[in-house]
Symmetry: C2
Subunit: 456 residues, 2 copies
Amino acid sequence: MRISIDYTNMLAPACGPHGVTEEELRAEFGRGSEAIRTLRAKRDQIRWRDLPYNQDEIVEKILAVANDVRERAESFVVLGIGGSALGPIAVQQALNHPRWNELPKAKRNGPRLYVEDNVDPERMAALFDVIDPETTVFNVITKSGSTSETMAQLLTVMRTLIDLYGEEHLKDRLIATTDREKGNLIGIAKKYGLTTFYVPEGVGGRFSEMCPVGLLPAAVCGIDIKEMLKGAARMDALCDNDNIEENPALMYALLETIAMKKGANVGVLMPYADSLKYFADWYAQLWAESLGKKKDGLRFGQTPVKALGVTDQHSQVQLYTDGPFDKTVTFLGVEKYRTEFMIPHAVDENPNVAFLSGHTFNELISAERKATAHAVTVSGHMNKTILLPEVNANTIGQLMMLFELATAYAGELLGINAYDQPGVEEGKNMTYALLGKKGYEAKLEEMKDSAERKLV
Amino acid sequence: MRISIDYTNMLAPACGPHGVTEEELRAEFGRGSEAIRTLRAKRDQIRWRDLPYNQDEIVEKILAVANDVRERAESFVVLGIGGSALGPIAVQQALNHPRWNELPKAKRNGPRLYVEDNVDPERMAALFDVIDPETTVFNVITKSGSTSETMAQLLTVMRTLIDLYGEEHLKDRLIATTDREKGNLIGIAKKYGLTTFYVPEGVGGRFSEMCPVGLLPAAVCGIDIKEMLKGAARMDALCDNDNIEENPALMYALLETIAMKKGANVGVLMPYADSLKYFADWYAQLWAESLGKKKDGLRFGQTPVKALGVTDQHSQVQLYTDGPFDKTVTFLGVEKYRTEFMIPHAVDENPNVAFLSGHTFNELISAERKATAHAVTVSGHMNKTILLPEVNANTIGQLMMLFELATAYAGELLGINAYDQPGVEEGKNMTYALLGKKGYEAKLEEMKDSAERKLV
């Protein structure tokens, strides 16, 4: 059961003159083959690609810790931001009940999950309105231990737990996921004897879902992480294929990078399933932070846009059809939802309503997806559909690896480094300066407005 | 207490050669003045502008119905999509507890709120896992009564309620918000004697938050809707100012339309407050559906992108700084959050962590907003900041009217009709065809693929 990409509507025969031509595509096949070779040679710099294969022992430890947490915790709180949050949120939403935290305990196969990925004071306070520290286990995730947001949350949680239960019991309620040797968190973890998982060398934040960063929260919520890794392994193998036309990640990357050159600086990801809504957030980080780069005076990067079918048909599709030819749309379709839900008869006297009765919601959402893809195509806009036979742990593993590899291939095709994020340093340093961190005093000078302030 | 826009960083003196110059801005002032006059003349076609002034009687009815619902309902479920959903979600998130539905009844000032704006079968089923029909009141919202998604949900709810309680009791549990005369829903409302609110003439879906569409759900959840309307009235008056430099909505529209001409086909809205997260969704519909238009062979529309500060600093800001000069960023800042939350001392031995202690989360999030605006500016990208003194019913009313009027002005400046959505008809009709609605048989023929199917 594997996911597939239908890219018919990316091509000119389907969507017309703004589409990719067969010639444009074939002209890139040479560079595609080169990208396969380069990525293979880089394998030890992109260790996330090995995660489906080299974690047998770690997975057993994760499952043991997860089982312990599941037995004693009502709530599991992840303190993390960026890649440490987006993967856990996406996987939880994809594979568990849509209203998990609101379900009574008997209907929930694990503790409530909270992923705290902001430092809004109102949200921080609100967390303590809904959890009981007595029955909560926290998992702080930061590779470097220098992420201000996560460390501020950690200080809050540590103070609370130490005051309530004493330093010696911190280890019962706090799990660390961090670098094995470096950084501020590993020191704290050692001092208090915390259960600790490691972010492997060569696995950046946005590529970390398949390591303990993502696997522990998933396992705590009863998700079959072995099956996720199996799905990821399967997709990794498919995307190592030298035959470009049978290599899904490379085809995805080729089509998108060609589309970018043709002016599509916007890339919409539009799942037709609430379960995949936050998958689009995860994708948005991966695509934006990996490909948004400057090099040799040139600027790269396609702005990812998250949409949700059918909801955003009533919000964004007007723009996607009648608006500029500046985007690609990638639909995520689901062939078989986990529930079938009938549209019953109730207004049979009105044929304008009654035509819906007897159909299922499944038929309705699928018809709308196909109809929207058709409308986007006939209006001349490039689009493609990734089809998931079902949403399950295996296909989610496939989907994540597909996007990770598509991003890696796109990085090669654009000739940029997809694994750094130098553009965020300026903001980080200025935050340190504004908070009075030692050594950043001079930085404050830059903040003095050079331009006249304009207010309305 | 009014919101303001700081647009210093939209201009070339602050952000450099990719910014708007003083000359470019002044050159558009003539067209700006024309837009003020046109909009005044259109006033009876844009009746949403009158909503803050002409609803005294309706507001009293809303409050009476809301009070009744508040007394007897544990859950309030909105069935609606697009404008019927995005406004209610945005306002609820802005003004009530971030985890409202999870709070125990005693801490909640009103029933749980569910806004069902999709037809995902899994989500539809999940709703009935968390609500008890016995203590639930439903509010179906569709002006035309021909929105397939909402009508499918309505059929489900009607069947459930009629089977459980009998036709004669439908009126105790279902409220309709629809057109006064036309459409499928008003007929149903009359047949069953439902409490009914009307969507006024000249108020399109995306401009409907300040009519019963948005006001009833807000009032049910204890929000001060009179104060919201007061805020909207205040902003309406400010934005009628002939002095362009004192007219916030017109300045917003001028700056964005000039930016579009300079290549900014992407417009990011990035609130620094979880409470405003879904406000960005509401804005995205307003901006995309109003301005995404084709006319005389030209294509218009800026793609709205929703981001959340500080969260998306770890996801999108790399792209916003190092990526192409193809976007504007609008930050939403909050001067005073409703909670102050300390970052305590707990790791004083490590200065790389301890520098945070003693500050508040409030200081941290504000420092990060300012630092990010600075980083985006020094990297040469246009940005501006809308500052809310506080997030409350009045400032939310202001903010919504600001964006509605900015959208209206932008429509005038671009010379397009901001109030229709012809581009969604194709998809609607094809959905009808796929579901076998009478009269759409021929449409199916178009679906037959003309292009060879490409799969990977």
